[in-house]
Symmetry: C2
Subunit: 376 residues, 2 copies
């Protein structure tokens, strides 16, 4: 393998996969698809092909080639289909043909649900290492919403492949246009496709990626698992998050049950909102809006967390993250707000995935300021 410092790489264990999927589901803020499906796919892949090494961005040579691998579609549909593996291979092999280089490593484009474990499947099948780094430190619904785009890396060539091994290759100078073209094709293909896009150099991964997010997801999952044994998984997870480099502002925003839910698959996304009522009898209410991922949380009409900060809905007993398509009327949940990585909160970043990018006519205010009432 060229371009990689192998000495620093570490193996993942099978237990790590489960923890990583559970933690990534939290960071996925409702999106990224069912983590359980992702776990099964990754477990099967590593049993058959062996566990990929987990490497750090700094282990990559500047001219190393890194491909992303993900599922794209509406989470409501993603849960109905699984990747066969051949589709993952084809997406990466076609991308290699188009760019004229084989990948040296695979990186997740986002950390969230199934898209944290699909790269494990891809790396295992192709015998490549997996990079401990993604393009947002959370999940987002649209292709252009990644740090790589913020700093000028093109999203294309992008290859999408469906379960019939039909493929579409998109090349455009605009990441937003890439999203439109990929989404249009994905709708025809049934809204659940494999994608490999943002072919990256090692230098770009080091400069623009959100580092360490797979290890943080792993830590979140471990904290949840250990917290369940000790009695308060949500608290254990939040204590862990506060020790991380990005997620140290972390607040319980609401403790309640879901009293209303509007969810539709439209424009190629899972769109809607859920209403919650406090369990403490105070009559306090919360509404969470989503487009695949949770976008804004309003408590009694006042915004308490807004994209790109992370809004996660978790089971109030087990702490397990609940993805958008798994929300149900009557669920008893906690809503957790977590600060996004600083690189996600710059003006350049907010122009790409701040509230305005989702049609929300509110400024971004960091949740630690919203919590203290300070309008930073």
């Amino acid at each position: 393998m060229s371009g990689i410092d192998r000495d620093r790489s570490r193996q993942l264990s099978v237990e790590d996969i489960d923890d990583l999927a559970a933690g990534a589901a939290f960071l996925g803020t409702g999106g990224g698809g069912d983590p359980y499906l992702g776990q099964l796919l990754a477990r099967n892949a590593v049993l058959e092909y062996g566990m990929p090494a987990l490497i750090e961005p700094e282990d990559l040579a500047d001219d190393a080639t890194v491909f992303t691998s993900a599922m794209l579609g509406a989470p409501t549909v993603l849960v109905e289909k699984a990747a066969s593996g051949d589709d993952i291979d084809l997406s990466i092999n076609r991308l290699a043909e188009v760019v004229g280089r084989r990948p040296d490593a695979i990186a997740p484009i986002e950390v969230g649900g199934i898209n944290s474990t699909i790269p494990i499947v891809a790396a295992a099948r192709l015998g490549l290492p997996l990079v401990n780094c993604d393009g947002m430190g959370r999940a987002f619904p649209e292709i252009q919403m990644v740090t790589y785009n913020v700093y000028g890396v093109p999203a294309t060539p992008a290859v999408i492949v469906d379960e019939h091994l039909e493929s579409v290759v998109v090349e455009t100078g605009s990441c937003k246009r890439a999203e439109e073209l990929v989404r249009a094709a994905a709708i025809v293909m049934g809204l659940s496709v494999m994608i490999s896009c943002y072919p990256l150099t090692g230098r770009q991964v080091k400069d623009y990626g959100v580092a360490d997010t797979l290890r943080i997801a792993l830590g979140i999952g471990r904290a949840l698992r250990e917290g369940r044994r000790d009695g308060d998984p949500v608290d254990a997870m939040m204590r862990f998050l506060r020790t991380t480099r990005y997620y140290r502002h972390c607040y319980p925003l609401f403790d309640g049950k879901i009293t209303d839910l509007r969810r539709e698959t439209a424009r190629g996304y899972t769109l809607g909102f859920c209403d919650l009522e406090a369990l403490d009898g105070s009559g306090s209410r919360m509404q969470v809006e989503f487009q695949n991922e949770n976008l804004v949380a309003r408590r009694d009409g006042r915004t308490v967390a807004i994209v790109p900060d992370l809004i996660s809905i978790v089971d109030r007993e087990t702490g397990a993250a609940i993805t958008t398509e798994n929300l149900h009327y009557g669920q008893r949940v906690k809503v957790i707000g977590t600060s996004a990585a600083p690189v996600m909160r710059t003006d350049a970043a907010l122009a790409v995935f701040g509230p305005g990018a989702f049609g929300i006519e509110e400024p971004f205010i960091p949740l630690e300021n919203l919590a203290t009432g300070e309008q930073a």
Copy 2:
């Protein structure tokens, strides 16, 4: 140049381009875009790059590689945009990369309006010969509606390119699916794109193509031009058509003026119908339905011509074909019905582009039988 018998090839003249465009507009049965735009593009290309040789299918070696080149979209939009040439080159060069072979020749996929002259542009720019053969002997709105598909040749890899040189490559085993994926991308790209699809072998062109259609289009245009000098261009054109190998059943279906017109750009096509009233005072009426191309003509409620037979609306004085997007209220026109090539009327062909393929719940009856009242 490999795979081509050059001795048999003949040069086109610039006057030929005008005749070919005029004749192809007739065979385009309302579709294929404005022939005048196509004429200008072809004239400019041959001035800059020289006139391509016109070769016959039998001049191709069996293993020669032939690419098609066309514009795809809604005719209402095609007239607003012209090909830059770079988009044509890119569509063909990308297709060559994907299939791993350079083309030995260019062939039209359809004979109709701009898509008879775009291949001249492509052949001129690339220094390749042009094959006197197409995939339908008329124009059709959807990619799968060609003889090549009827006989099992895949439509993909297909490459589409827009005016910003964005490209999309589609690969699928189904020509209908190729249409769906290409159409979805073309809608995002603004409904006017360059396409190169159906990469063919010389053998496939010889076995499944509709031969001689560029020369026939040329003859139609010449008959119209000479007929204008002699006084009755429509009659001159019909006399010529009756001498050709495919179009020998040719009838004036109506002589009237357009009294109503419904036309919309929807689902990626120009859809609608026009109503006509006879000029002879008889009160007779005709309705012509179209999806880019004219699909069915009903005189006083009775079907007199139906797809895949050709229904052309021409100016009643000049005989110039009027494309769907150029129909206007009050135009005085003749409607001409012409038999499709026999290869287009087989059961296998009718399953792909007979009335049912357009949602018309009527059987195909050859227009020569409709004319005599015989229900063949």
